[in-house]
Each structure stands twice: as structure tokens, then as C-alpha cells.
């Protein structure tokens, strides 16, 4: 472990994402967490009583739960909950027109290319800065069809009946310490409801940005696709480069009702001082399909295991993930598939790249409940090591209570092979180009699932990560 992982960060992250705005905040909660902070957040947001109580109860759960005893104990041990701001609101109200976003924040998102992306190919965009959503838009035709897309706080205000019905039903605060933390201090995130049989053909996007040092960002996302509906949601994340740590701890709940289809795509590129501890889970009802497409670059420690609970017959779940761990980083990622109904199917493809002193872990679980006959599941994890110090570990769990089940599991760890390098070099590619080509090929099954703009961006990010690699 390096004392200062920042020193290693490539200079482009600094220039492109690592900048930070001068702090100009309407409200910045003092560091530390207690019931007073929770009360303040809830009152500030003028929430209904049930949410206020929910937050306080969640804080009690958070305080009573020990830290996880698994995962990277060294890095988890360095996380200091007392040294975090749990709520920060920048000046200005939420804008529906890009022009109305405060200039400094607009510049930030302009630099990150958010409005550009919206103009190009998105049906709706939400941009979150620190704790609150600062910009939001949705295409008029979708709005007319009854598609609801807003930040979570507005969702709670404007559609309390839907939020109350589904909120925390997939991930209760008791689930784990970080879910409890998020439940207590959540702010922002996306709320999406797609009415029955409505197909949202182009993706909806949210962009999450941390600006302040020692910031905790706790967005809360809830997506409901009603019967026969379909939606693709994409999120991107970055943060400035600071020498001390920030915490990003989101909760994302997806509910795909009968015959619905949800795809959730993440490209996170946090700076390497961010702890990224996220709980993502979906319920897939009868004949529903849920897909998590999850790309993890950056961060100091990521712990994230997108899950699908296959609740109805013939439901299908997929997790397709890529993690890239450079020096001083640990990507502890994986997936969970819970087959709770007969004839459900699932597929996990997890690819990790560890470079230099980077470390990646695959942690996965497939569970087939009693009575869930005729299920099929396949798990494929593939790790690529670049350099002698790179590390990869695999922790798969299979818990199958039925006989009539088809389970496939494949795990491979490979070193970037000298013979591949020699082959490509013998065709005129220099060593850096050859390594990049091998790595891009390795993650190609993932990249091919991304919209074009994201695929291009991801390839560019990988290229930056690979620069100056000594094999």
C-alpha cells in the first residue's frame, strides 16, 4: 500500500476531472454524524414525517452495526466517519434550463461534457453536485407518456404514494452498514417511474459530481419499470483530486415488474481518494429482465456487488462488469443472483484488470432457493494481471438447494502474456500499443454493451490508465 495514492494518478485526471471549484455553499453541515445532522437534513428538505422517522431509525442501525469483517480490512480501517461532511448544498435552486444553473457549477459540468452528451443522445439528464441535484431535464414526449424522471427529493415531494410504496423495499437499512448510512443521510439521486408498456428507447442519464474535500455523497436511486415497460439508465461519476478521502455511498433500488426490462449502466471514474461503497439491488418479477452494466475505474476502495433477486418465473438477471485497479487501488466487486422462482436464468460476466500494485477481487454469490426448479446460471470471471505485483482474488459462493438446475462456473486468471506481446510487436505495434490492444480486447465484451459515446470514453480512460505501464 502506498501512503499517497494521489502521487500515482495520471496527470490527465487532474486536468480533466481533478479540478475543484471554490467552495460557495448555502449550507455545509459540520463534519461528523449524529441524530442532529439527520434531523437537520430532513427538516431542511421539509420531508414527510415517515421519512424523518425512517432516517433516524436508519442511523440507529448504522451506529449499532459493526464494520464489515470481510473485504479489505486495511483500507476499511482507514475510513474515518468523523471526518466527513454528510450534507452540502451549493447556492442556487434546481434548474430545468441549462442557462439557469449557477455559472461555477455550469462550468464544471460543461468541462465534464454533460450538456453536450444530453444534446447528442439522451432522453433526459440529471446532474448532481455534492448532495443536491442542480440540473434536470426530460424530453417532453416522455413526460407526456407519463414517464417520471426527477431527483429523489422531488420524487418524494411530487409522487409520495409511489415512493412510499417502493422506497427501501429492496434494500432496507438493516441490509448492511453502508445501506443504513445512506438511509440516514441520503440526498439526491434519481427517481424514475415508467408506466405500463411504455418503452423509453433512448437512455436517461445522471451525472454525479463531488466537489468539496471530505465530502460524503449519499445519493439514493429508485427505478420502477411497470408491467411490460422498459428503460435504460446511465450514470457517470467523478470527483476532484484531494489528499484526504471522500466517501460515496449510494443505494440503488430497481424494481422490474412483470415483463419489464431495466438496464442500468454505470461508468464510474472516481479520483483515487474516494471510498466507493455502494449497494445496488434489483427485484425482477415474472418474465422481467434486469441488466447491470458496471464499469469501475478509479476510487481508492470500491465495494460493490450489483444483485438481482429473481422473484417471478422466467425472470432473467445479468451482471456485466469491468474493474480496473491501478497502484494503491482495490476494486472489490462482483455480483449476486438470487433465484427465488422456478425457471429463472442469470448470467454474470466479471472482468478485472490489475496493474502495478493494484488489486482486484471478485466476490460473487449465486443462490438457488428450494422450489426454484429449472434454473440456469452461468458465472464467468476473468482476471488480467499486468506486472509482477498486481493481485487478483476470487471469492465465489454457490448455494444451490435444487437438483434440476444448470450451473456453469468459469474463473480464469491470466498474465498479460509475453507471447501475445511478441506477436503484436512482430507486426510493428510498440509495446505500449500492444498492451493497450490486449487490454481493450479483454474488456471488449463489456465495451460492446455501451452506447457509442461511452464506449469511446471508456477506451480513452483505459488508454490513460495504461500509459507508461512497465510490463
Amino acid at each position: 500500500m502506498k501512503a499517497n495514492p494521489i502521487a500515482d494518478l495520471n496527470s490527465d485526471y487532474l486536468a480533466k476531472y481533478g479540478f475543484h471549484d471554490p467552495e460557495d455553499y448555502l449550507h455545509k453541515a459540520p463534519k461528523g454524524l449524529h441524530h442532529g445532522v439527520v434531523e437537520m437534513i430532513s427538516r431542511y428538505k421539509q420531508e414527510p414525517e415517515w421519512m424523518r422517522e425512517f432516517r433516524h431509525r436508519a442511523l440507529d442501525v448504522f451506529l449499532s452495526k459493526p464494520m464489515p469483517r470481510w473485504g479489505d480490512q486495511e483500507l476499511l480501517g482507514q475510513l474515518d466517519f468523523a471526518n466527513i461532511h454528510y450534507y452540502i448544498k451549493a447556492r442556487g435552486d434546481q434548474a430545468n434550463s441549462w442557462e439557469d444553473v449557477p455559472d461555477n457549477i455550469k462550468r464544471t459540468f460543461d468541462k465534464l461534457g454533460v450538456p453536450e452528451a444530453e444534446r447528442k443522445f439522451l432522453a433526459g439528464v440529471t446532474a448532481q453536485y455534492e448532495s443536491e441535484v442542480v440540473y434536470h431535464s426530460i424530453r417532453a414526449d416522455l413526460e407526456k407518456q407519463g414517464v417520471l424522471f426527477s431527483d429523489m427529493d422531488s420524487g418524494l415531494r411530487e409522487h409520495p404514494e409511489i415512493v412510499r410504496r417502493y422506497f427501501a423495499t429492496v434494500i432496507p437499512p438493516e441490509d448492511n452498514k453502508f445501506a443504513a448510512l445512506n438511509s440516514a443521510v441520503w440526498s439526491g439521486g434519481s427517481f424514475i417511474y415508467v408506466p405500463p408498456r411504455t418503452k423509453v428507447e433512448i437512455p436517461l442519464q445522471a451525472y454525479f459530481r463531488i466537489n468539496a474535500e471530505n465530502m460524503g455523497q449519499f445519493e439514493r436511486t429508485l427505478i420502477i419499470a411497470d408491467e411490460g415497460a422498459s428503460v435504460h439508465y446511465i450514470e457517470g461519476c467523478t470527483a476532484p483530486v484531494y489528499s484526504t478521502d471522500s466517501l460515496h455511498s449510494a443505494v440503488v433500488e430497481l424494481i422490474a415488474l412483470k415483463g419489464a426490462h431495466i438496464r442500468y449502466t454505470t461508468i464510474q471514474n472516481w479520483s483515487t481518494n474516494v471510498y466507493n461503497l455502494v449497494t445496488k439491488r434489483a427485484y425482477a418479477h415474472e418474465d422481467a429482465v434486469v441488466e447491470w452494466v458496471d464499469g469501475n475505474l478509479g476510487s481508492k476502495l470500491t465495494m460493490k456487488y450489483p444483485s438481482v433477486y429473481l422473484m417471478g418465473e422466467r425472470a432473467h438477471g445479468e451482471v456485466l462488469s469491468v474493474a480496473f485497479a491501478g497502484d494503491g487501488q482495490h476494486q472489490d466487486t462482483g455480483a449476486k443472483m438470487i433465484h427465488a422462482a422456478p425457471h429463472t436464468t442469470s448470467r454474470i460476466i466479471s472482468k478485472s484488470i490489475s496493474k502495478g500494485a493494484g488489486r482486484s477481487s471478485y466476490r460473487g454469490m449465486v443462490k438457488v432457493a428450494r422450489g426454484a426448479v429449472g434454473c440456469r446460471t452461468s458465472v464467468e470471471c476473468d482476471a488480467l494481471l499486468i506486472g509482477e505485483r498486481a493481485r487478483s482474488d476470487t471469492y465465489p459462493t454457490m448455494d444451490v438447494a435444487e437438483d434440476d438446475v444448470r450451473v456453469e462456473h468459469e474463473a480464469r486468471v491470466s498474465k498479460l502474456a509475453e507471447e501475445q506481446l511478441f506477436y503484436l510487436q512482430s507486426r510493428g505495434l510498440d509495446a505500449d500499443q500492444a498492451r493497450l490492444m490486449i487490454v481493450n480486447g479483454f474488456i471488449e465484451p463489456f465495451v460492446r454493451e455501451l452506447p457509442m459515446e461511452y464506449a469511446v470514453e471508456l477506451n480513452r480512460l483505459i488508454e490513460l490508465e495504461m500509459e507508461g505501464t512497465v510490463g
Partner: protein, 258 residues
């Protein structure tokens, strides 16, 4: 010597060791423009090690001198040798999953020519090469050597030779694993690619391919050395008599020396 008159390839006193064990024990070779040389020899004689060393394989310890078109390349990385026009057709081409044949070829062409090739021009060139080797154009979208049959891999090697237009082509057992039809197609491809300005060194265990590609010079490689050099008739002699008589001669000479 004037560079213009320099042979396209030459090497002097090349020794190659693998993990400290000497496999190639002093090789001198000279290939002039327009010449095709065959390097024949029994299995395990060090032929493949020699050509891998000439291409610059990083795990081999090489001494001696290697020249391409009169310029020394001994100290150069494999990619630098490739950009100057050296090409190795592999006996076992390596799979690179996720990288399409088209993307790979375009990158290799760009490296060799030192400039980007416009997409349309590249497509045209690639399709022509596929046609010349009677390959399905679907190859362009497949992952490089991934799940290819032995014959498909060999054809793709020759296709690269056609596109990259090397100054010196080293072909390592390109004929092995090919049926007779594939062999004819590959041999035609090699003939096409080997112009009057280039040189070819064809490593083979069997005389079979030499019925299709007429070598100008035949070398017999035994125990890390060129034991004999002759014309095409030497290949036929080997076909009739096998390698044993030459191996015995070499052993007798070695015995006499000690």
C-alpha cells in the same frame, strides 16, 4: 559495401540460447533480393528458435550480428524490426481475444507504413487480400486467431504478409497442418507476396511445400548449425534419403573434432 547492393538480409555468427542452453550454434546467412531460401531440418534442430531470434523474441539470448537491407537491427525491439520490414509468419499464431482481425490489420498497416490508412482504402485492400487467399470476408469481424482452425491461422499469417509487404519474410512451418488445397492457396499467396525486391526464408520440415514454392537455395539445419547448403536438388535428395545420413555426417565431423 554499397547499401544498394546489400543483400536484403544477412546475419553473422548468430548464437541463440534459451534459459542458458545454447540452441543455435553459429549461423551465417545471406539472402539477396528476389531470393527464396528454404531452411530444412529435423524436429528439434533449432530452426524455430533461429527465426524467433532473428525477429527479436525478448526471452532469447542472442549474440552475433543481424542486418536488414544492410542496416544492423540486432539491438532493435521486435516492433522496430517489423516497421523496417521484417516479418515472421508464426508456426503457432497467438490468439488475442476481443481484438477484431480488421482492427488488428489496420493497426499493423499503420505501424508499417507510418501513416493512417483511410477506412475505405483499407477495407478495399483487406477485401482484395481475403479474396486472393480464398478467405471469407467475415474474417474481418472475428477475433484475432481466437477459435481459428490451424489452416485459418496460417492463411491469416500469409494475408498479413501480403498486406505488410515485408522486405524479409521468415515463415516458420507455414505448411504444417494444411491440407493439400489449403497448401496450394498458401503457396500461391507466398509467391505473390515475394517480389523481386524481397527475400523469403521458409522454415520447413517437409519437402512437400517446396513443390509449390520453388526455393533458390536450400539449407539443411542440424543441431543448431547449417550443415549443408545447395540448390533445389538438395531438397529432393532429403525427401528420398531423409535427414539421417546428414546427421551421421555431422556427428562424424563432430566426433573427429573432439
Amino acid at each position: 559495401m554499397n547499401r544498394e547492393d546489400a543483400p536484403v538480409f544477412s546475419c553473422r555468427d548468430v548464437h541463440v540460447a534459451v534459459e542458458g542452453k545454447e540452441i543455435v550454434k553459429g549461423v551465417d546467412l545471406e539472402i539477396r533480393a528476389g531470393e527464396k531460401h528454404a531452411l530444412m531440418g529435423p524436429n528439434g534442430s533449432g530452426k524455430s528458435t533461429l527465426v524467433a531470434a532473428l525477429m527479436g523474441h525478448p526471452s532469447l539470448q542472442v549474440s552475433g550480428e543481424i542486418f536488414l537491407a544492410g542496416e544492423p537491427v540486432t539491438q532493435l525491439e521486435p516492433d522496430e524490426r517489423a516497421r523496417r520490414g521484417m516479418f515472421l509468419g508464426f508456426q503457432y499464431p497467438v490468439a488475442v481475444p476481443g481484438v477484431s482481425v480488421a482492427n488488428f490489420l489496420r493497426a499493423a498497416l499503420k505501424a508499417r507504413r507510418g501513416e493512417e490508412i483511410p477506412v475505405r482504402a483499407f477495407r478495399k485492400e483487406m477485401q482484395a487480400a481475403f479474396a486472393a487467399l480464398e478467405m471469407n470476408p467475415d474474417f474481418a469481424g472475428r477475433y484475432l486467431n481466437d477459435g481459428f482452425s490451424g489452416g485459418e491461422k496460417k492463411r491469416l499469417e500469409i494475408l498479413q504478409m501480403l498486406l505488410l509487404k515485408p522486405v524479409l519474410t521468415l515463415l516458420d512451418e507455414t505448411d504444417s497442418g494444411l491440407d493439400i488445397d489449403a497448401l496450394k492457396i498458401v503457396a500461391t499467396g507466398i509467391d505473390r507476396a515475394a517480389g523481386p525486391d524481397n527475400g523469403v526464408l521458409l522454415v520447413t520440415h517437409y519437402q512437400r511445400i517446396l513443390e509449390h514454392i520453388k526455393p533458390d537455395v536450400v539449407h539443411v539445419f542440424i543441431d543448431g548449425r547449417i550443415a549443408r547448403t545447395g540448390g533445389p536438388e538438395l531438397a529432393r535428395e532429403l525427401e528420398e534419403r531423409g535427414y539421417e545420413w546428414l546427421e551421421q555426417e555431422v556427428a562424424a565431423v563432430a566426433g573427429g573434432e573432439s
